[in-house]
């Protein structure tokens, strides 16, 4: 299993990462690449840039945990996750997920699963610079429900608190 997880300030090269994942192999039949890009607007208003804050150490661990979950769930032959932090301008890439498998359904499902989890569980926070100043992006209920659909049924909780 070829697994790469990286957090970095600098841009990444999606094509290079895909070549590193698949190069020289002939058992891979399907490669899905997701690239998340910084848009020039947020909530209908133009933005100058966004800044991504993260929790070093925890971010890597959370991503690794979800990559392990994906590997346990689908017959994958390779996974790459790269997430940038720091200041990112519109048009620049933010996040890269690449999944490789012998068949396409596994590659698609694992890439979607990883993106849904990155959106809701990986400790990153986006701040946008708008004309009126800086503001923190609010979490979306639609992202929570996208992540929910991957949950396995849980045993009933014994404690009622929280």
């Amino acid at each position: 299993m070829n697994t790469t997880i990286r957090l970095q300030r600098e841009p990444f090269d999606a094509a290079l990462e895909a070549r590193k994942l698949t190069g020289g192999r002939t058992d891979i039949g399907a490669v899905v690449t997701f690239t998340g890009v910084c848009r020039a607007d947020e909530g209908g208003e133009p933005i100058a840039a966004l800044t991504l804050e993260h929790y070093p150490g925890m971010a890597e661990a959370e991503i690794a945990r979800h990559v392990e979950k994906a590997i346990a769930r689908w017959p994958l032959l390779g996974v790459t996750v790269i997430h940038r932090f720091g200041r990112i301008a519109p048009g620049e890439d933010i996040v890269l997920v690449i999944t490789a498998s012998s068949h396409r359904q596994a590659a698609f499902a694992a890439a979607e699963f990883l993106m849904d989890y990155l959106k809701t569980r990986a400790p990153f926070w986006k701040q946008v610079e708008k004309r009126g100043g800086k503001s923190w992006v609010e979490a979306k209920a639609s992202d929570d429900s996208a992540a929910e659909r991957w949950s396995e049924p849980k045993p009933a909780r014994r404690d009622a608190a929280q």
Binding site: G36, L52, E53, H54, Y55, G57, M58, A59, A61, E62, H83, I94, V95, M115, L118, K119, T120, R121, A122, P123, F124, W125, K126, Q127, W136, V137, E138, A139, D143, D159, A161, Q162
Partner: protein, 83 residues
């Protein structure tokens, strides 16, 4: 106990981390948030709505009812917006 704050929790409190020793009555993450909210104006603002606060103990997500005894590092932050 080391406390770490991120995003607007960090901004409102005015620091990214600190070492604090909460009293023994502070048993859970929810207790900790309620106690911190009384430590000054910035804290009160950061924790004005405890329901939106997310927490991690030693870099793992926990619920508000998680016990903090033995924790090396407790992090408090808003819902995440990565990806």
């Amino acid at each position: 106990m080391k406390l770490r704050y991120f995003a607007w929790v960090r901004e409102r409190i005015g620091k990214a981390e600190e070492d604090l020793d909460p009293p023994a009555s502070v048993a859970t993450v929810a207790d900790l948030v309620a106690w911190l909210a009384q430590q000054g104006e910035g804290y009160a603002y950061a924790f004005e709505n405890p329901n939106v606060i997310r927490a991690a103990i030693d870099k793992s997500h926990v619920h508000a009812d998680a016990r903090i005894a033995g924790a090396g590092e407790v992090a408090l932050f808003p819902p995440m917006t990565g990806g």
